[in-house]
Symmetry: C2
Subunit: 385 residues, 2 copies
Amino acid sequence: MRPVSIIGIGKTPFGAFPDKSLLDLAVEAGRKCLKNGNISPAQVEAFYLGNFAGPAFVGQNHLAPYVAAAMGLEGVPATRFEAACASSGSAFFHACSAVAGGMYDVVLVAGVEKMTSQPTPRVTDILASAGELGGEVKAGATFPSLFAMIARRHMYQFGTTREHLAAVAVKNHSNGAKNPEAHMRKVITMEQALAGRMIADPLTIYDCSLVSDGAAAVLLCPAERAAEFTSKPARVLGVAQASDRLALADKEDITTFPAVRQAGQKAYQMAGMTARDIDFAELHDCFTIAEIIAMEDLGFVPRGEGGPATAAGFSALNGEKPINTSGGLKTKGHPVGATGVAQICDLVLQLRCEAGERQLSRAGIGLAQNLGGSGATCVVTILGR
Amino acid sequence: MRPVSIIGIGKTPFGAFPDKSLLDLAVEAGRKCLKNGNISPAQVEAFYLGNFAGPAFVGQNHLAPYVAAAMGLEGVPATRFEAACASSGSAFFHACSAVAGGMYDVVLVAGVEKMTSQPTPRVTDILASAGELGGEVKAGATFPSLFAMIARRHMYQFGTTREHLAAVAVKNHSNGAKNPEAHMRKVITMEQALAGRMIADPLTIYDCSLVSDGAAAVLLCPAERAAEFTSKPARVLGVAQASDRLALADKEDITTFPAVRQAGQKAYQMAGMTARDIDFAELHDCFTIAEIIAMEDLGFVPRGEGGPATAAGFSALNGEKPINTSGGLKTKGHPVGATGVAQICDLVLQLRCEAGERQLSRAGIGLAQNLGGSGATCVVTILGR
């Protein structure tokens, strides 16, 4: 199969935008991306859209042709991918596969979610539909409560502490404050993080990602054609998607996600790399505990050591392996359907040395990990220059 | 790219099944399909699921890993595709592309919808979310009313009559009565069809497809490996997906669907065929007028002649080009997310000479056309032996 490159990226800022519709956001990201890749709509051969719950959030289903037509992508195959919070990661995975397999040369992948038009309790319910309805959701579980159970178990099993969780929040707030397109640009202290309002014990408001509106897009083409469009292509070195059971109750061990391990292993294998080769990463910190577990499942640190490593600065901007230099879902924001592709955009910014105040000095190989639900879908991508 | 074959099919009956959940239906179809293809779950490398509105109909999102895990497909990439009533057609298209491109050897594609648990007015609303929310849906349009406008315009422009529409219904009822797995097995007369209760003038109850529960699945592999699994493989000769604007108001001519024409042309081109080569077809008769327009857009008859051709027996079981030998969406049933893959199953039954009472004598090349919304997505597939 052919190597694939990313030749354009485009994102809206993430935040609460009462005046922008889902369509506005998706079209804005798509147009920025086409411009960034020096591509006209007529050159795009297929459109891949990640969206989790447009029908529930804004009442509109059948979103892919709707967005495609508004961007002037007339007639091309336009498809919506839904995999909970990994929706656009999954769209990206399938688009990479199609270009690699020779189906298309130029494809546009986007992700979008418009969440803030619904009141918070309704948002929580819509998000909960990505959990297992008949069991855990019927019993009253929400995603904060599911990840709270995961965090409690991780604490019990490995000695992870509230301070470890808070260290993730403090780091991601610090990074997000340097990201002009982040939803929340606010540095916080360890004391503030620890004193946050409790959402689901042990997770406080500072352990939870944001409810945001936003969209992101990337353009793909075969690596051999990348130079036609950009002088700064990013190479897809590895990409893999894996799945697992939906319900926590059906998992053997809730402190590790087999889908993350499996997608990670496949992506490493495809890239011919190990965790050691990764310079920096965007990990799916829907909750602080999720970042800690992802560090462990991807082999950045041994099991149980994600918390202490974070507290010791391992994943800080100037650490051994910087994680979520964008601010992560925690402060950049988490418009769920957009998150997977937004992570890819953030990796590409670093690879291109366009990350501004948060630019890393060593940013040759980046990894993105996009999680759906409490681990039932995972997409891992490894990019290089 | 590699030729692709269908090596297994599996379907639930279509109907109203208060005792079966969405998961029950999907798992039943998937297991039948695996058995039909002599495949164990461990051999399946990826899972593609078409579902339109599970979150709205039954409250469960993130359906692909949920269904995959219940079928014992542990860990594989499991993705939900949503393209309105073409959801599983789109899943099939993407799965064929992945096998053709060399990503996988053995993949399972399924489609499912559980609709009858909601009251009819709610079903109508959920279906309407595939139309354009801000314009036509806000103005009160439902799918029966959109297709009624299309029918009226077709009547005005080409002289199509109520009798022509009714001829489609009479034919599909006659075929469906021969299909043991059809939702409605009831022969009707032209008089009955014309006297049907009016739903949206000129469409009566007999012009509208059914609200059904059901699931369908197919197994794909590279053609060169098909003989390992079955003595009766079906070959995917052509498959294409195309898109168009959502709103009727944005279309130049509502009596033809550009996405159908485009997907048809691409599929014909890929197969090296024309409409003349097609022996029989499953067309997306969500409303009788849709079958008439599909006949025209796919080149089976010249524009405007779909109605008279139907009335003259062109598409009957013993006609020149039999259409919807399964009974079509009209009587087989239309669990929307399952329909695209179910059409493929029905083509394969004919190709294998396993279609029982409705078996055609000449069934060498079959075409399936799966439509999303009022023409915004279309997938066309051509199968041979």
